[in-house]
């Protein structure tokens, strides 16, 4: 047993640090640090910088323009990027669609789509959930009926994150209405500008319109946009859920959030002394730091297993459970740390550029919105209730 990284891994970390120090624009990292709202341009700028370096697609093979990183390298990049307050890379094309195409798509699909993801020409979004199909995803109702060389798609998707920036959507659709739930589902690629596709933004509890409803009304989709076989889409969706989930624990995010809370607690005062010295606040903070120290090692254990080629089992569900609790607790601590300053709603600051002055502490405007926004962590990507059931069934059967 050896907790240490190899020299090659340490060198890689150093390389990542240097890249971030030189290539991450300050205005972008300030936006991320202050939990401001990123626009399409912000994401695309960062994607282009990463793509120039060859680091936009960490898990893709080199021959497709990926970085070809190991799970540990991905983890190191993620850690460093978070600590440097880099924007996240939007995952839908890079870590969700592309692996499915690489595993199940045609050569033509791979060669057509992957370069367009890297170049930014295509922004993908995800069409999985429906109003009646959340945790019970397999009960989805969006229909695709074959009509010559096309499928005619009708139905509705929801919770489509950043769909307002996307020109493409990958969808799970029902192609055989008579089959049992998980069967009869297909995986379909759809242009958002096809006639009959409409998008309605949903304003969330934090005031942001981050997610959308997408409506399909007699949308004609060429049959070559089917991925893999008809009625096998559930297999591909599950593949996607069990792979490419190295970052499910969010250790990098939590490390950065912990550092932010510590800094704020040292800057704001309570009874004339830094809040960090208040034993009640210090106890909350230390407790989550201790939990995070352990979860970081749980994460490394699973990474090491992945590196050795072992498939992730219920451990990734445990990581999601603990990881979301820790991330949510840290957003709660940031809000608490800011005290009365967390109350004012400051959308102008959150949407604004460098020159907007915050009321109160600079971290105040983002704190409560981030707390509310991050409630999603335990809801999406398989709710924590679903994860608990997965863990329990892995040991109890049934």
């Amino acid at each position: 047993m050896d907790l240490a990284f190899t020299q090659a891994e340490l060198d890689f970390r150093q390389e990542v640090r240097e890249f971030l120090a030189t290539s991450l624009p300050h205005d972008l990292s300030e936006k991320v640090r202050l939990i401001k709202r990123l626009g399409k341009d912000d994401y695309q700028r960062w994607h282009a910088i990463l793509n120039d370096k060859g680091w936009l697609a960490p898990g893709w093979p080199l021959k497709h323009g990926g970085a070809g990183w190991s799970p540990v390298q991905k983890h190191i990049f993620e850690e460093e990027a978070c600590l440097a307050h880099a924007p996240r890379t939007v995952p839908f094309g890079i870590t969700m669609l592309a692996p499915v195409l690489l595993a199940f798509g045609t050569k033509a699909q791979v060669n057509h789509h992957l370069p367009r993801i890297l170049s930014g020409e295509d922004w993908w979004c995800q069409g999985y959930s429906e109003p009646g199909a959340g945790s019970d995803l397999a009960s989805l109702k969006t229909r695709a009926v074959r009509d010559g060389d096309h499928y005619i798609v009708n139905g509705q998707k929801t919770w489509t994150t950043l769909g307002q920036y996307a020109n493409k959507i990958f969808c799970l659709v029902r192609t055989d209405p008579d089959a049992k739930k998980q069967e009869g589902i297909s995986f379909l690629l759809i242009d958002m500008d096809t006639p009959g596709v409409t998008l309605r933004p949903i304003t969330l509890i934090d005031g942001q319109a981050e997610v959308n409803e997408v409506f399909f009304d007699d949308v004609r989709v060429p049959v070559e946009n089917l991925v893999g076989e008809e009625n096998k889409g559930w297999t591909y969706a599950k593949y996607l859920l069990t792979h490419e989930r190295t970052n499910i624990a969010g250790v990098g995010f939590s490390n950065a959030a912990l550092a932010t809370v510590k800094r704020v607690a040292s800057e704001v005062t309570s009874g004339g002394k830094p809040l960090a010295q208040n034993p009640f606040f210090a106890a909350r903070l230390a407790q989550v730091e201790i939990d995070l120290m352990a979860m970081a090692t749980t994460n490394l254990r699973i990474l090491a297993a992945a590196e050795a080629g072992r498939a992730p089992g219920p451990e990734s569900s445990m990581l999601k459970l603990k990881g979301t609790v820790i991330r949510q607790e840290l957003t709660s601590l940031l809000r608490r740390a800011l005290g009365p300053h967390a109350l004012p709603h400051q959308p102008d600051f959150l949407d604004g550029g460098d020159n907007t002055e915050p009321l109160g502490h600079e971290q105040a405007p983002g704190a409560a919105p981030a707390y509310f926004n991050m409630r999603k962590l335990s809801i999406f990507g398989g709710s924590n209730e679903i994860q608990r059931t997965i863990v329990a069934k892995s040991v109890l059967g049934g």
């Binding site: 509890i205 004339g272 009365p340 809801i379």
Partner: protein, 364 residues
């Protein structure tokens, strides 16, 4: 021992509830917020006409209430309906305005709003942390002034002697908001309520509330009233969040059955209900001890704010989680209550502040 409501109070509660049911729903609240108005002035006036504000003042001041149970009843009803209107300032100001009959009359009618300008940017939750100077004009900044941009008057805490954090030497002054030297920056809070930041520059302060330098005890009394009001309002919001959640659990189908039939959620609902009963008892405890001697009252103040704050966060988080995505949308009523439940912890001291204070008051 009697936990039932008197006939008068039951009538007040019924008429308030009915009026609110007829005149406020989530769509109308969203419309008010989207309009840029801090609240619905017609609704405020309508509620005032029903005696909502009068219920916060004792008979000798022209009201018909003012006791702990009155305050609890009014604010629980308001909280359940999810109002945005400026009632909290009246709860804060009521114990401070015993010598201002005319002003109280205007407050009761809904024509004047008197609010407390106390929290300073670096003060967090310590009531004695006052730096704004009164030598003799006022200079300094107050923040989180509830409905400060809509108020007609402010009661301002200012330091006449002593240092920051010294309970001695704090005085209170009544200032009209059109006084010279005031700069009022309106704020909308995350939960949709209104407040303001108020900067004072050589502002004249002629009208004292209480004795010079003895403001701390008055601040405690006003805060005790406000914490009762806010806790009761929070209790109402819990009830609203609970009702929405129970309805959703019975209606929402997943895996071929209502999600309320899943035992894991049933058990969490049971814990949530149990905690809400705890919060109700905590509100009753403070309501029943609002006129008790200072040490007893303040122990209940901190116990209640701590407990209600913990339960509020639990209810908000569990209600949203059990709803799933829909619980996170602004279109759906729960999001309003969830924000109120969570952000109330940031007013008048959060759960940690009051836990520490409870220990201190208990001689620890």
């Amino acid at each position: 021992m009697d936990f039932t409501l008197s006939d008068e109070r039951r009538m007040l509660q019924d008429s308030l509830s009915r009026y609110l049911a007829d005149n406020l729903d989530h769509e109308r609240r969203r419309k008010t917020l989207d309009s840029g108005a801090p609240y619905d002035a017609d609704l405020f006036k309508g509620l005032a006409d029903l005696g909502t504000l009068a219920a916060l003042f004792p008979e000798e001041a022209g009201g018909f209430g003012g006791t702990g149970p009155d305050i609890a009843l009014v604010f629980e009803t308001l909280g359940r309906a999810g109002t945005l209107e400026p009632f909290l300032p009246a709860a804060l100001a009521a114990p401070l305005l015993t010598d201002h009959a005319g002003l109280v009359e205007q407050i009761i009618a809904g024509d004047s709003i008197v609010t407390l300008a106390h929290t300073e940017p670096d003060a967090r939750y310590d009531l004695a942390d006052v730096s704004l100077s009164a030598k003799p004009t006022l200079t300094g900044t107050k923040t989180n002034v509830l409905y400060g941009a809509q108020a007609t008057h402010l009661i301002v805490s200012a330091r006449e002697t002593g240092d920051r954090l010294d309970p001695e030497g704090i005085s209170l002054f009544l200032i009209p908001t059109d006084a010279p030297g005031l700069t009022i920056t309106p704020i909308t809070n995350v939960d949709g309520t209104a407040s303001a930041q108020v900067a004072f520059t050589d502002t004249q302060a002629d009208t004292r509330i209480g004795e010079p330098g003895q403001g701390h005890a008055l601040l405690e009394t006003a805060t005790a009233h406000a914490i009762l009001a806010l806790s009761a309002e929070t209790l109402g919001a819990m009830e609203a969040a609970k009702d929405l959640t129970l309805a959703y659990l019975q209606e929402r189908q997943q895996f071929g059955r209502p999600i309320g039939t899943f035992q894991a959620l049933q058990h969490r609902i049971a814990d949530m209900l149990t905690e809400i009963e705890q919060a109700r008892s905590a509100v009753l405890n403070l309501a029943g001890h609002l006129d008790a001697p200072r040490d007893t009252r303040e122990r209940h103040v901190s116990a209640t704010k701590n407990l209600v704050g913990r339960v509020a966060a639990l209810v908000a988080e569990e209600a949203v989680q059990m709803h799933g995505g829909i619980g996170m949308t602004q279109e759906y009523e729960l999001s309003h209550h969830a924000r109120r439940l969570v952000m109330a912890d940031h007013l008048f001291g959060d759960v940690d502040h009051h836990l520490e204070r409870f220990i201190h008051l208990s001689g620890g």
